[in-house]
């Protein structure tokens, strides 16, 4: 179930980065794996700070990770 209009490309970015696991990403962000799953599935909108941290992990701009459709 998606509760936010914000979409994201985290899953694709993980696979593009040596098939990084959700657990690896969670460790790098300092959150639980369940939180990464919730963000990927659009069930949780991360804080702006965490959004920047995710973009930094993948070394891409913020809008390459999160999109807000018109």
């Amino acid at each position: 179930m998606t509760v936010t209009r914000v979409t994201n490309s985290i899953r694709a970015l993980r696979f593009a980065h040596q098939e990084m696991t959700q657990a690896d990403l969670a460790t790098r962000l300092g959150v639980t794996r369940q939180t990464v799953i919730a963000i990927e599935q659009g069930r949780y909108s991360p804080t702006l700070e965490m959004a920047f941290q995710i973009a930094r992990v993948f070394k891409v701009p913020l809008d390459a990770v999160f999109q807000y459709p018109d």
């Binding site: 936010t4 919730a38 069930r43 949780y44 804080t47």
Partner: protein, 141 residues
Amino acid sequence: MTFTEKNTLIFLVVSALGFGVYAALVLSRAQGVPLVEVAYAAPMLWTIGGAIVAGIVGQTVLSALEPKEAREKDQRDRDIDRFGILMGQSFIVIGGVVALLLTMAEAKYFWIANTLYLGFVLSALVGSSARLIAYRRGLPQ
């Protein structure tokens, strides 16, 4: 299921069981006696105390079973916790207001005490349920 989600589930079950045991004890004592004359204070105090102890034991056992890193709260846990508090606190206020009105109406202590207790229990049940739903379906926007 995260550590805090499991803790919330324990709190929900313990709260429901505590009130269930209390209600069963009071109703069993009301056979042939008006409800307001039932000695409710001891069952209420014992079930509240028992629920607190059961909750602490449950959390201690859970903590011992989970690795240390799994026990840490993150931003999502804190957001969901705030949401649960917000959803549950209205029942404490409602219970308090109704108890105030009952006091003004000089109602029996039985009704005043039980209204307050019910307010606390509903607050715990609604707050915990809201948290568990938020963990599964996400926070409302």
